[in-house]
């Protein structure tokens, strides 16, 4: 059992190294201008600007961000931006999970609500709400309630939560409806009300459906945060950093990759945090189904 796990980790590392090796191999072998068919580049350019060396990407992390005397070292700046984005994504995740759960409960409770709302929930995912991020920003600047001032980062969190709520709503509904007739009949025979049935039967039964959805929601929240940062123009996070560094790519191509590594890091970190949460619910997770 233990050796099998060690083996799969080992092969995973081999896979990552394999991609790095392929990158360097292609860079060494292929022509500088890539391979073009007609006017379309089908295989990428291999100049140091388009495809920097792997070791350049890594060593660049330990140089200062800019030439300015007081500049931070790059990895530290990336880490700060990653923490900022992860915080917003976490808030978006929480909001999304809460609204997704509430929606699922509503749909489970009233059949008509399910018929009326579910098609819109599904349709909502074809709506690129990220696309209206520039518009969401405009809303925010007009909201003043007393001393409360709507900030840009709140818009980002709202967009992240919009992407996170969908898998939760759909999977939670499936989970809440998962107990077989025999189980609900049993609770009916106990004269248990809707609330008792929910707490004792439906919620525990929905955990196996919910866990993969929570993971998916976390990934969506991260994607939403990074993209919304870009389209709203919120500084301080990974999304904005990617755009800023990409602008200097021609002079400092390896630097572009630093915030991308940061994005990978928060993606993996968020998945890990949700997995940690799942361990606490272990006893409800027999026979888990993928989302």
């Amino acid at each position: 059992m233990r050796t099998a796990r060690a083996q799969s980790i080992l092969w995973g590392v081999v896979g990552v190294l394999g991609v790095a090796a392929l990158w360097e191999l292609y860079k060494a072998v292929a022509p500088d201008e890539g391979v073009t068919v007609g006017s379309i580049t089908v295989l990428p350019r291999t100049t140091d600007i388009a495809m920097p060396h792997i070791w350049d990407m890594v060593t660049r992390l330990f140089d200062p961000v800019t030439r300015a005397a007081d500049a931070d070292v790059l990895w530290w700046a990336v880490l700060q931006a990653a923490a900022f984005s992860l915080g917003i994504a976490a808030l978006g995740w929480v909001l999304g999970v809460i609204s997704g759960m509430l929606l699922a409960l509503l749909m489970q409770r009233w059949l008509t609500a399910e018929s009326a709302v579910l098609p819109w929930v599904v349709l909502s995912q074809t709506v690129p709400l990220i696309a209206i991020a520039p518009l969401v920003k405009r809303w925010g600047t007009n909201i003043h309630v007393g001393s409360f001032q709507w900030e840009n980062w709140m818009s980002v969190a709202v967009i992240a939560s919009y992407l996170a709520f969908f898998p939760v709503a759909v999977s939670a509904l499936r989970g809440l409806k998962s107990p077989p007739q025999a189980d609900t009949d049993l609770f009916h025979a106990y004269a248990a009300g809707w609330w008792t049935t929910l707490i004792r039967l439906r919620l525990p039964a929905s955990v196996p459906y919910l866990m993969p959805a929570l993971k998916l929601a976390a990934a969506n929240a991260v994607v939403g945060t990074v993209v919304a940062e870009v389209s709203i123009g919120l500084g301080g996070g990974i999304g904005r950093m990617i755009i800023e560094f990409a602008a200097t790519a021609s002079g400092d191509p390896a630097k572009t990759w630093a915030p991308i590594f940061g994005a990978v890091l928060i993606g993996l970190l968020s998945a890990g945090l949700v997995a940690l949460l799942g361990r606490g619910l272990g006893r409800f997770r027999r026979g888990e189904v993928p989302a």
Binding site: V13, R45, A218, T256, A263
Partner: protein
Amino acid sequence: MRGSTTARTMLAPVALGVVAIALWQLLVVAFEVKPFLVPSPSGIAGAFTESFSHIVDAAKVTGLNALIGLVVGGLTGILVAIFANALRVLSQMLAPLVAALAVIPIVALAPVFYAMFGAAAHTGRQIIAAIAVFVPMYLNTLNGLRQVEPVHRDLMRSYAATAEQANRLLLLPGAVPYVLNGLKIGSSLAVISALIAEYFGGPANGLGKAITSAAAGSNYTGAWAYVLGAVLLGALFYGVTAGIEAWALRRRGGS
């Protein structure tokens, strides 16, 4: 009884939609909400019909990128999953890479692809859409290929069937519902990815760029009209793939 079920599944969502739009219109008119906050549905509809031909042109550009991404990413996902299912080592090597692809914002790679394939071409966007589609396609197909019941595996062994025969007769047909589900998920991702990739630079004739430039020019009703175009494009992709799924599963004769 049957009539009331149909009424519930067909009419209820339509009724909700109509009520929501009516309420929206009413509130905007009653409170004289400025267009930069929320334009009225009728205003959006007006702008939509006014610039209809331009919206269609932009949607064609974004839609083609999404379609190419969907086809390329989808086929790659299926092929790689078949190999990964046959070769355990390959699936183990790919596991961390796919896990990373699944949780990272792939559009973040947009600037890199623009550098690699040229910022004047759409190739970078198509690749981003393809990667976004690849992930659910690969995971769903692999999951589907692994759903083989032990009794079927035994049966194939008892027939001394070759690996190719087992793939063609047992594994692939069994994975079809999973592949189609992956395609359905991928279709929405392809549109959204192709759209968002436009925010990170590149040619400016797609829907995504149209939304941002309209918003930047304070033409909010126009921006919403483009958003509506994006919604319809996404719904078209989703509707077609969901239709293919329903058709194929019905043709297959239950499950």
